[in-house]
């Protein structure tokens, strides 16, 4: 009741004030009428008392007091003075901006570029780093669990670990009120024609308890459906899948949907925006983690051999991160001992120092965040710099305008307008401009968002970048800050203006010493542009270095063909036969030069198995060995060079002498200074017969582009191991993309049941590893060019303004016999001074930032003199061009006209 009263009072107050502001004329007229009525009645009263009319009217007015003062007081009583003033300033500003459309357009466009770049970048940075998962309750108490241990003296960090470890942590800790195991994977969803490879969230039933989300229909799965060991095959659909595949029909509940190898029953539909644990890979469906893991490996919950699950926890109230970390680290030590009981080869805990790190859920903020995350932050910073440059430009334009309006401003000051009012007016004007720029900026950001999305969140195509509250709020804040920043300079300038000089000065005088602020702004622009361009050049060169890096195999001609078996029960022999048939069919495809079977693909997976070498105690201590199982044509297919001995041959088949090819790195680690050919390796156990080294292959990079030499490879012939799994690698003549479709068409008919073929060019597999450099190169270049353009416009406008101011002087020079080239040189020299100073300062900033930029580069020093020289040259050329245009115009000045202008 009281609340309702308060609201109604507030509403009537607001209505009254609004009417007072926006119907100002009507309100004023009413006040006039009201007061006149009062005076008339008072006069009549006096007349009735016997005073003559003139005297009666005079007395009435005396009794009333000054009419204007009463009016003023009444206006005050309406409580709208500030509002009224703002509205008046707004009207004034709008009139002013409409009178100068060119100026307005320049300012709005400049701000739009700055604000747009930031809005778009904010969308990315926010999503990758800051925004908590949708519906997540109390995000501050939720952490992701990372393992940290030393491996061969080097620290390793992992966020994927064994499901068994998750069980250990869950049972051996007391700090957490909730924990969930999650995994985000790519699965074939659907059957037949409808089958699509999409992202699916594999989660424990406890996952849903972290959120305030409710299924739109049906329900989430419960602990019975996620029970050990095998769970129940059920699936919760995401909104996208529900809408696109089922047209939002409610009768989907109870229907069957094939997810990977699982025939699942649909039990519910998740709400909009509920996209699983990884915001960069929005999930289309949710399945129980036990139901997924059991068919993959039925011992997944007993042993520590398959690290894949991720863990999220919610700390109990009052438990600090430090305390929770200690609790988990303790649990890890217990778990480590348990693992060691199963696998005596594991180093002791005192050697490996296992400990746990708790970090925010976002992988980009975790301790093992990739280079990409750092580059994204850098680019966010770069966007901010672009905005600064834009602001400097706008401030410069506004200042130029303020200088042109000096006399107007001085007159208004002389007429009694307070400086505070004047500043307020200038600020209102610039904030209005900034808001216009903000609106345009959001449109620019929307347009740029598409580009950014493909660069940063390739899988996040379900993400709308701009149309959400956080981003819009951000854009609005940026616009207002930009408005105040840009308005402050001319406003302070106006406030500090000396009245008398300003009034006395002609348009001509007094501008040169006054342009110091403008020079400073111009220098800042130039310097920041240099900084960004240096960054751009460094990233471009890094990208080139990375792209031309020899990986130990060719990328473009290689095509990977995966097979996914579904809806069929094949015996081991049948699987082997299928592999062989696929290999034969692939070899026969025109355009395929070589084809090979393999078990692992660089950048996708690595496999390691224990082996023994006579005379060496522990092979493990010499390095991290990975095994590659490959058929005869493997080295030819990949383009991996055999340096000594031979590759695999047709004779290396089952029953023939066992052979192995080792990488150069492996050879020198195992048999330093000796000939590796003919050496003996014993697979699995030291009682096995010798596998003889027959060749040495070049090293390959298989995890990241920078991991040169960290992993050591050896190769075993596919035919001698005869595994039941296996995928194909093909080598095309030229680009493998050209044969991708043919390969799919030719091989798909060989697949039994609902099984299918996946075709992936090697380029697509390697490319994500290039992402950080490509991102850096693209964005720095984009923003660098933007910055340079803005700086050039700024320089141009300042020089043009100066030239206009100096028309008289230049005219005089021409009249005194100066040549056009002299005048041009005079003006361009002015521009050059700015450019050179900007280059020096910008280069200094870039050198100072070098230590932080260096780790993001590849094969390139952050102090590359060539880069600095090229950037300096670019700036000089652009500055020369930007000042030559007004300079050229100055040469066309007709002295007789110029001398006559004021």
């Amino acid at each position: 009741m009281i609340n309702a009263d308060l609201v109604s009072i507030w509403l009537s107050d607001a209505r009254f004030r609004l009417r007072a502001v926006f119907r100002r004329a009507a309100v004023e007229r009413e006040l006039d009428d009201e007061l006149r009525f009062h005076l008339d009645r008072e006069t009549e009263k006096n007349v009735r008392a016997g005073v003559d009319r003139t005297e009666a009217s005079r007395r009435a007015r005396v009794a009333f007091g000054g009419v204007d003062r009463v009016k003023e007081d009444t206006r005050d009583a309406r409580g709208v003075r500030v509002l009224e003033m703002i509205v008046r300033d707004l009207r004034y500003a709008i009139r002013g901006l409409r009178a100068h459309p060119g100026f307005t357009l320049a300012v709005v466009a400049t701000l739009a570029l700055g604000i747009g770049a930031n809005t778009a970048m904010f969308g990315i940075v926010d999503r990758l780093m800051f925004r908590p998962l949708a519906y997540l309750r109390d995000p501050g108490s939720v952490n992701r669990v990372y393992l940290h241990y030393d491996f061969r003296g080097k620290p390793e960090i992992a966020h994927n670990f064994e499901y068994r470890r998750y069980l250990d942590f869950a049972s051996d800790t007391k700090s957490f009120s909730q924990h969930a195991a999650v995994y985000t994977g790519s699965f074939a969803v659907g059957t037949g024609e409808d089958v699509r490879e999409t992202t699916v969230a594999v989660v424990s039933a406890s996952y849903f308890g972290f959120f305030d989300a409710h299924p739109v229909i049906g329900r989430f799965f419960n602990h019975q459906e996620d029970s050990l060991p095998a769970g129940t095959p059920v699936v919760v659909l995401g909104q996208t899948l529900w809408k696109t595949r089922y047209g939002s029909r409610t009768d989907v509940l109870g229907q069957q949907l094939q997810v990977g190898a699982m025939h699942a029953t649909i039990i519910g539909v998740a709400p909009e925006g509920f996209n699983g644990p990884d915001p960069t890979k929005p999930a289309t469906a949710f399945i129980p983690i036990t139901a997924y893991a059991y068919p993959v490996d039925s011992t997944y919950y007993m042993y520590y051999h398959w690290g894949w699950a991720e863990m999220m926890v919610r700390r109990k109230p009052g438990i600090t991160t430090t305390a929770a970390t200690a609790d988990l680290t303790n649990a890890y030590a217990i778990s480590w001992t348990r693992e060691r009981a199963l696998d005596p080869d594991l180093p002791t805990a005192s050697l490996a120092h296992p400990r746990v790190i708790l970090a925010p859920m976002q992988l980009s903020r975790g301790p093992d965040a990739g280079q990409d995350a750092k580059v994204v932050l850098w680019i966010g910073g770069v966007a901010a710099i672009v905005l600064l440059i834009a602001c400097a430009n706008v401030a410069n334009l506004l200042l130029g305008r303020a200088l042109r309006r000096r006399r107007e401003i001085a007159v208004r000051l002389a007429l009694g307008v307070t400086r505070r009012r004047l500043m307020a007016q200038l600020l209102v004007e610039s904030v209005l401009l900034a808001l216009l720029g903000g609106v345009a900026g959001i449109l620019v950001g929307q347009a740029g968002a598409g580009l950014l999305r493909t660069l940063f969140v390739p899988q996040g195509d379900a993400i709308g970048l701009i149309a959400d509250r956080r981003t819009l709020l951000f854009a609005a804040c940026v616009a207002i800050i930009a408005g105040v920043l840009t308005g402050l300079v001319p406003a302070l300038h106006a406030a500090g203006e000396d009245l008398v000089t300003a009034l006395k000065a002609g348009v001509r005088e007094g501008t040169h010493q006054r342009s110091r602020t403008r020079s400073a702004l111009l220098l800042a622009q130039g310097a920041l542009s240099v900084f960004l361009l240096v960054g751009a050049a460094l990233f471009v060169r890094s990208l080139n270095n990375v792209a031309s890096l020899r990986l130990g195999y060719d990328v473009d001609p290689v095509l990977h063909v995966g097979r996914v078996l579904r809806g069929t029960k094949l015996s081991d022999d049948e699987k082997r036969v299928l592999s062989a048939r696929l290999l034969d069919a692939a070899t026969a495809i025109p355009g395929v030069e070589h084809a090979s079977l393999t078990l692992s693909v660089p950048f996708w997976d690595t496999e390691s198995k224990g082996f023994f070498v006579p005379g060496i105690d522990s092979v493990q201590r010499l390095g991290q060995f990975t095994v590659h199982v490959a058929s005869q044509d493997y080295f030819a297919t990949m383009g991996t060079r055999i340096l000594r001995g031979r590759g695999f041959e047709a004779t290396d088949r089952a029953g023939a002498p066992l052979v192995v090819v080792v990488s150069e790195g492996a050879a020198s680690a195992l048999w330093p200074g000796r000939n590796p050919i003919g050496q003996c390796m014993k697979m699995k156990s030291d009682t096995m017969p010798c596998t003889t080294v027959v060749g040495v292959a070049e090293n390959i990079r298989q995890e990241s582009l920078t991991d040169d030499g960290q992993r050591l490879q050896y190769y075993l012939p596919f035919e001698q191991l005869a595994p039941t799994r296996g995928s194909l690698l093909l080598r095309a003549r030229g680009d493998s993309r050209t044969i991708a479709e043919t390969v799919r068409r030719r091989l798909q008919p060989l697949m039994p049941g609902t099984s299918y073929i996946t075709v992936t060019p090697m380029r697509d597999i390697v490319d994500p590893a290039l992402a950080s450099w490509r991102m850096g190169a693209t964005m720095f270049t984009l923003f660098g060019v933007l910055a340079l353009t803005l700086a050039a416009i700024g320089l141009y406008s300042v020089i043009a303004y100066d030239v206009a101011q100096r028309t008289h002087e230049l005219g005089l020079r021409v009249a005194l016999g100066a040549h056009a080239s002299d005048v041009l040189r005079l003006v361009v020299k002015e521009g050059m001074r700015y450019a050179l100073a900007g280059i020096v300062i910008g280069a200094a900033i870039a050198l100072a930032a070098a230590p932080w930029v260096q780790p993001l580069l590849f094969g390139e020093t952050a102090r590359d003199p060539l880069v600095f020289a090229v950037v300096a040259a670019i700036l000089v050329v652009v500055a020369a061009a930007a000042s030559a245009v007004p300079g050229w115009r100055a040469t066309r000045v007709d002295p007789s006209v110029a001398l006559r202008t004021e």
Partner: protein, 114 residues
């Protein structure tokens, strides 16, 4: 004759103007001039609202929602702006009257002290 010269005139204590206006409007809607006349008459000319502060006060009260205004015909058939109490205004009047009574009572008690 100026108001200040009148020996029977009382200075209006701070904050009572609003109360007087509300009271004057409690019987029937009035226009501004009538409000000042009524207060003068009822108080036997001892209280004279300074006319210059009447209108700011009226607009302030209107903004607070205690009174509302509408245009109507005055007794001499002229258009005049009439003010009337709103529901919250009446409530406010009760409260302020009450507060005033308690205040004056307390002041009298102190002054009557022997």
């Amino acid at each position: 004759m100026t108001d200040a010269a009148d020996p029977n005139r009382l200075e209006l204590p701070q904050g009572t103007l609003d109360l007087l206006i509300l009271k004057a409007l409690s019987l029937e809607p009035q226009h501004g001039w009538a409000i000042s006349e009524r207060i003068r008459q009822v108080s036997s000319a001892a209280l004279q609202i300074p006319q210059g502060s009447l209108y700011p006060a009226l607009h302030r009260l209107e903004r607070r929602g205690w009174i509302k205004a509408r245009w109507g015909e005055s007794d001499n058939n002229r258009r005049a702006k009439f003010y009337e109490l709103t529901r919250t205004g009446r409530h406010q009047l009760d409260e302020e009257t009450d507060a005033w009574r308690r205040l004056t009572l307390a002041v009298r008690l102190v002054l009557d002290m022997r």
